[in-house]
């Protein structure tokens, strides 16, 4: 289903006055498209996810999903939150079954469906574990299975891998890619990690902060699976970092470990040369 945000403004009350977090946001996600929003911390990216999820209302503007305005949360739009937000009193299976239970699915069917999605995220052996027994990566796997089990039209991901170590993040990025290619949900993925955004998305919206505004949209025409050192990707990353201008420093500090890769992005290998190297 297509997602469309038209002239979205959002302000929050702040110390008696109002603080504008989103300023005239216009964006679309086509049916089955994978779109990333990238920007520094505090630029209102998460607010966009909350708006599309129906958890918050815009101050003005329209949010259309499949051509119809969003009036509240709906199981056809599920969210994967940064810290998983699993229910601590339910085990992994119980968490994945939760939405299906709310939807009134009979126990046998919801169990079968939950197990199917747990298999997809490679958690079949941990169905009886409780969230406090899981690592960060496993929690996110469970959260992804929980969001997918409802077979949503739209999957919203709010910095889902930001708290994970680099290796776990890379593995989960690949798996998310595989899942997306399998079921083709419409995906809106929020991150402050430029490398992650360019590696995953069909299109990347670049958002600047205070108030959040769209600076640019980059269409990434690099075939998947994508190679991290692909010259075209590096060129996109370079362009995005440049666009973020003085906010780059902040973005890089958040990414710490990735800082070493920055010089490569500054001097991208010409695309011709790169093709020769990787294919």
């Amino acid at each position: 289903m297509r997602v469309e945000l038209r002239h979205i403004f959002k302000s929050f009350p702040h110390n008696g006055s109002s603080l504008e977090v989103l300023h005239d946001i216009n964006l679309t996600v086509a049916e089955g498209e994978f779109v990333c929003l990238v920007g520094p911390s505090g630029c209102g990216k998460s607010t966009i996810i909350h708006l599309v999820a129906g958890l918050e209302r815009p101050t003005s503007g329209d949010i259309l999903v499949g051509g119809r305005p969003v009036t509240g949360p709906d199981p056809s739009r599920t969210v994967v939150f940064q810290d998983a937000a699993l229910f601590p009193w339910l085990n992994v299976l119980g968490n994945v079954e939760f939405g299906l239970r709310m939807a009134g699915l009979p126990p046998v069917r919801r169990r079968a469906r939950a197990l199917e999605y747990l298999k997809l995220v490679h958690l079949s052996r941990f169905t009886t574990a409780y969230p406090h027994q899981l690592s960060g990566g496993m929690k996110q796997r469970a959260a992804i299975a929980r969001a997918l089990a409802l077979q949503p039209e739209i999957l919203l991901l709010d910095e889902p891998f930001a708290a994970l170590d680099a290796q776990t993040r890379a593995v989960l990025q690949n798996e998310l890619m595989e899942i997306w290619e399998l079921a083709r949900p419409t995906i809106l993925f929020v991150t402050h990690n430029v490398r992650e955004a360019t590696g995953l998305a069909d299109r990347v919206y670049v958002i600047s902060s205070r108030p959040g505004q769209i600076r640019d949209v980059q269409a990434i025409h690099v075939p998947r699976p994508r190679h991290a050192e692909d010259a075209a990707l590096l060129a996109h990353q370079h362009k995005i970092l440049e666009l973020l201008g003085e906010e780059v420093e902040k973005v890089l500090q958040d990414e710490l470990g990735e800082r070493v890769h920055f010089p490569e992005a500054q001097h991208p290998v010409p695309p011709e040369q790169s093709r020769g190297m990787h294919s």
Binding site: A85, F87, W89, L90, F98, R101, M102, A103, P131
Partner: protein, 252 residues
């Protein structure tokens, strides 16, 4: 290396108990009227051989069981109603807090007027002395659903009654367990006060009997037993329950 923390875990309470024992022996040696630990433990052993004493102990245990079960039922359902129904909260919310502020012993006279010098009066004292804290903590718990949990639940289609029973109530469980633990201590005290002031046979009543007879060793023996039961149930049941809940809910 692995043994050391375990030893030190036991060492401190053992040291404290040993010190206490020595102090007691010393004071008993200095003041002959004051019974020595050996006399008191001897009295306690004797007590356990008496059918009257065993009946009193069983009576107290039974009243506590009935009273505490009622506390759980009334406290939790009352707390859920307070948190869920604004009208009930407005009408009896402050009333519940007021009940909670009255110590268990202060309910005994009223219980006696209503139920006479009966077992029911004692159970009623436990109920009033301990259910307030469970109500208040349940009420607090269901009002404090973590925002992230609430958001996740809503995006997964939870609303209305299902949201209440599958999200609000389970997320309140740590608070409810806190309340139940306190209620055990309050209820145990209310039981003793109730038995002391009514003529229902139980540990509390034995206490007043031996005091009237001037049997200091018996008095200390029974007080020791009352304290031990209180501590044992708290440590063996409630501390463990509370810890297990806190670990699972990610609070420990």
């Amino acid at each position: 290396m692995r043994e050391r923390p375990r030893i030190s875990r036991w060492l401190k309470p053992v040291q404290a108990l040993a010190l206490l024992y020595l102090l007691w022996e010393a004071t008993a040696f200095a003041f002959p009227a004051w019974p020595s630990p050996r006399t008191v433990f001897g009295a306690l052993m004797d007590d356990f051989r008496q059918p009257v004493f065993r009946a009193a102990l069983a009576g107290s245990a039974w009243r506590m069981l009935v009273g505490y079960t009622l506390v759980i039922l009334v406290g939790i359902s009352g707390g859920l109603l307070l948190g869920r129904v604004p009208l009930i909260d407005q009408i009896i919310g402050s009333f519940a807090v007021a009940i909670h502020a009255i110590p268990g012993a202060a309910w005994v006279p009223l219980s006696i007027i209503w139920f006479g010098m009966t077992e029911r009066a004692v159970i009623f004292t436990i109920l009033l002395g301990a259910s307030g804290i469970v109500m208040v903590s349940t009420d607090t718990g269901i009002r404090e659903v973590p925002p992230l949990v609430a958001r996740a639940a809503r995006t997964l289609g939870a609303r209305g009654t299902k949201y209440f029973w599958f999200v609000v109530v389970p997320s309140a469980i740590p608070k409810i367990v806190d309340g139940l633990r306190l209620a055990w201590a309050f209820g145990w005290r209310a039981l003793m006060a109730g038995e002391l002031l009514t003529s229902v046979s139980g540990l509390g009543q034995l206490l007043s009997q031996v005091a009237k007879a001037g049997q200091l060793d018996q008095l200390l023996a029974i007080m020791l037993l009352i304290a031990s039961i209180g501590i044992a149930v708290d440590g063996l049941v409630f501390k463990r329950l509370e810890h297990a809940v806190r670990v699972r809910w990610g609070l420990a």
